[in-house]
Symmetry: C2
Subunit: 630 residues, 2 copies
Amino acid sequence: MQFHQQGYVSGDPRIKAAAGIGLDRPEELPAEVDVLIVGTGPAGMITAAQLAAFPDINTRIVERRGGRLEIGQADGIQARSVETFQAFGFAERIITEAYRITATVFWKPDPADRSRIVRAARAPDDTTGISEFPHLIVNQARVLDYFAEVMAYSPSRMKADYGWEFRGLDIAASGEYPVAVTLVRTGGDGSGVERVVHAKYVVGADGAHSAVRESIGAKHTSVHANHAWGVMDVLAVTDFPDIRAKCAIQSEDGGNILLIPREGGSLFRMYVDLGEVVENGAHAVRNTTIEDIIAKANKILHPYTLDVKSVAWSSVYEVGHRLTDRFDDVPLDRLGGRLPRVFIMGDACHTHSAKAGQGMNVSMQDGFNLAWKLAHVLAGRSPASLLATYSAERQVIAKNLIDFDLEWSRLMAMRPEDFENPTELEDFYVRTFEFPAGFMTEYQPSMITGEGVHQDLATGFPIGKRFKSAPVVRVADANPVQLGHHHRADGRWRIYAFADAPAVGEPSALSDWARWISSSPESPLLKYTPVDGDSDAVFDVKLIAQQDFEGVPLGRVPSLFLPRTGPFGLIEYELVYAADPLNDIFELRGISRGGAVVLVRPDQYVANVLPLTAMSGLDAFFERFMLPRS
Amino acid sequence: MQFHQQGYVSGDPRIKAAAGIGLDRPEELPAEVDVLIVGTGPAGMITAAQLAAFPDINTRIVERRGGRLEIGQADGIQARSVETFQAFGFAERIITEAYRITATVFWKPDPADRSRIVRAARAPDDTTGISEFPHLIVNQARVLDYFAEVMAYSPSRMKADYGWEFRGLDIAASGEYPVAVTLVRTGGDGSGVERVVHAKYVVGADGAHSAVRESIGAKHTSVHANHAWGVMDVLAVTDFPDIRAKCAIQSEDGGNILLIPREGGSLFRMYVDLGEVVENGAHAVRNTTIEDIIAKANKILHPYTLDVKSVAWSSVYEVGHRLTDRFDDVPLDRLGGRLPRVFIMGDACHTHSAKAGQGMNVSMQDGFNLAWKLAHVLAGRSPASLLATYSAERQVIAKNLIDFDLEWSRLMAMRPEDFENPTELEDFYVRTFEFPAGFMTEYQPSMITGEGVHQDLATGFPIGKRFKSAPVVRVADANPVQLGHHHRADGRWRIYAFADAPAVGEPSALSDWARWISSSPESPLLKYTPVDGDSDAVFDVKLIAQQDFEGVPLGRVPSLFLPRTGPFGLIEYELVYAADPLNDIFELRGISRGGAVVLVRPDQYVANVLPLTAMSGLDAFFERFMLPRS
């Protein structure tokens, strides 16, 4: 964590100095905003939290509910989400309070007496070390609290505008604020009053019944019959021995439970399968009472019993697998013809079962994907065409998720005797672990994702996939750190210069590259970094040497990596890293000993891999989607 | 972290439900309090934070200053302190914002040109794995902020009473609140107004010039000539390559610097030696200006230069090595004759140089040592004679610290050419590392520390030293955890039952022991746990099995370790642990395969080691210092 650069900070360094809109942010919704986000779920809040890092952008986030979410809803946090929380600065705190999943335990009918369940298998999570972050369970409400804190502590001093419901929008063909959004006050003194807010961009993160989706006429298609679930968060006394483990429990009569232990050591959630239901039917299943759900759970758990002492939350819901054909307001037949102004994300464009614990996670990645693009376009760093990549990138991810979830739900719902292979369920879980952990996302070549011509220079950083961190040693203070953990959610591009073999300071491809990027008119640093800001305002350029830290003399490091920033022109010491000989990043990530340049997007996805010698390639890549400084 | 046991908690689980005094805590200082703490430095605040866990005890903490500390003062945080912060729940946050020391770099005159300094040696910290916690640097103000948060979030809802200065006290021979403390308002409307607060106990944590110390007539003796230091927290530009490393720098002319990089990546502190001064002299050295200090630093750093851009804080101070003969109000010739009512801690009873980064750390351990004793006496769990152990235990620790610091200061101040062995300084540092890390404290046998008769049953848990954590696996959820990290600062005693070899549930010494402690009239659990509270209110009893977690069937674990607590009688699942076969706690800590019982004090020090078969020994041990429940 870096602070004091502008002068001594006495208090909590997580609280940034106010700037821009944050200096005098109006309590009331303004008539004109840059970005209006509808809905304070995980997708909306991460979008707001990311945009809050840009105090020159006026972002507001409205919510129909009168205040903070208190209970219920999603709770599964995949490792990719914890990695994302790390970028926003609250991973260590949420890890401390969350439940950590280390395995999934499979319970099935006892072959000797099929009326009884027995433990059949235990599948450990993440046996391949896909992430240094854990798989967690914590209530969505707490995730939202942390994003709210990020917003409040940001230079923008952003907070949610509760008590406003989205009613509709009109998109004008021109004008600075072309989207007119009608909102209505949902409570308090002005209840029922309508307001029109004019926005440059609108983000619909307003859930499965999204009114924003309806307003842009996107086609929301059911791809599978609906399924009903009883879900309950309860405190109970039980003799079921794995009550504190994640369990997939299948009983003889086909009833099944997904058991999710919850944070705090006592609470747990059960998803009790209530079977398939007819879409648009009479919804009779919704009359299932909590007593029915508890009774069904007891039946499935036999011979164990469940004595529920307190129900924190319960719900019966029917969920279909539904996908929207596009995630913005540009009809598919006009793609490329005009640019998007309205976006939808999260449940507004993809719904599926809760069984794989994916919803909140994929929704947050929707928001993380879009937010930096909006920021760059609004800041004039990138053309508006960048925004078309949001729907293009995320719609296919949602499609993959639904396909995965259909298969997982199908397996979970099968009668044990119907499996060809008795371990098919757990085999599928282990085989596909990378997907639910959140790391199968692989963006295809586009204006912001390279074609992979030089992928062989860094095989462990697949282009289009998230940058997988690895240990390094910071040279200035000999601290062992995770390289990826220095990629904070600040909207900046990362340029990692992995050095070639010569010692730093000796003639090398690295020193030629450093000279070029520091001084050439074709250098992205010179072309795109505003003249009036710090040299690291747009790009965060880091050096990783092959030598150990004692072999990297700071005095001979190119000044590019020891820039002087801030009002005092202090030297920035956190850009120079060395391989840890015991855990060499060059080996771990398959990086060429001839060096490599790895470009990483603000949302942590690898955008390209280039040789140190490919100066023109680097220039050409950023030219695709960046605008010269004005 | 455990919560939801009393019902669903929607918000931050770190905020405990208010209880006792916290339900309606008066803003104004009351006329009568149980404990009055004077001074909000690290010693006073940890005492208050620990007492805040006891909402039936009315504790107030007064401070002369009008508000929170903003700048300056101590910054060295040894691993033992981070371990302590973990018990209070904020280690992970303070680690994130702190600077981490991984080594000390020694700079000395270049043998080839003694006018120039060169890097001579690098001594890594903690090469022996003495702690799983890091060695940190973070401003004292932030440490105090975190303790203030612990207080505010506690059931007591405690906060400091700023703007009150201690004037004096009188101790009556009898009465419920025998200590009459006179305070005076230091600012605001009522400035200068005196108030008398009557207290059962008073804690003087009021610094080197302690008025509380004076009021109890304790003898504060100088044991060494005073030494003057110039200290500055600055932002600067320099070509000194180790500016982000902790350095001991000795120059040819004998001038020396202790360089401490600070949190945030830019700020650093320099202690510049200004030489010995005459005690009670004219204090001419105090006229040394910041410009003088910077000039002296530049001279010592030659050939490197230091261009100071911003001075966050600076001070010139003379510090002696001083020790008070006793840490409470009982004159040494009356020891045992009467019991203490007033205690002093921290700088009030021991001062020394800042060079070893010890002051804040030892002071916090003073407070951690005393606070639980006060709580137990006030709660009627222990006789008041327990309080006499505070001075007896801590005075000798302060003596050891001063001896260590004298030696370290002497070495630091020596001219390089005066060392017999050129590596004497760094050799001393490495050889004695356990001391400054905070782990050399070893309390001698007393009413609360056993005699070591059965030490051989757990050689890695030396009686009198702090309980060194080790990895285990929690059986219920298969989570790898650190056993010691479940010891929170809640004032409870820990009883760790390390099982003998038979599987849990089979006849064994463990099952006999569990039966005895659950049901015998001689069992400490039955004798000392209040009837109207949870069974784990006073003792936290944990089982550690030798088998791996899959070999510990929860259904066969003695019910002692799966108690039912709280309003719903929920099962507590976090008391049953298994050895991690890859990192076996029985091997790591030398625990007998015949099992052992390890008793740990509320302040994390090992109190005794006993065989599982020594029921009467366990009974006899607690009888020394606990009172039967009323």
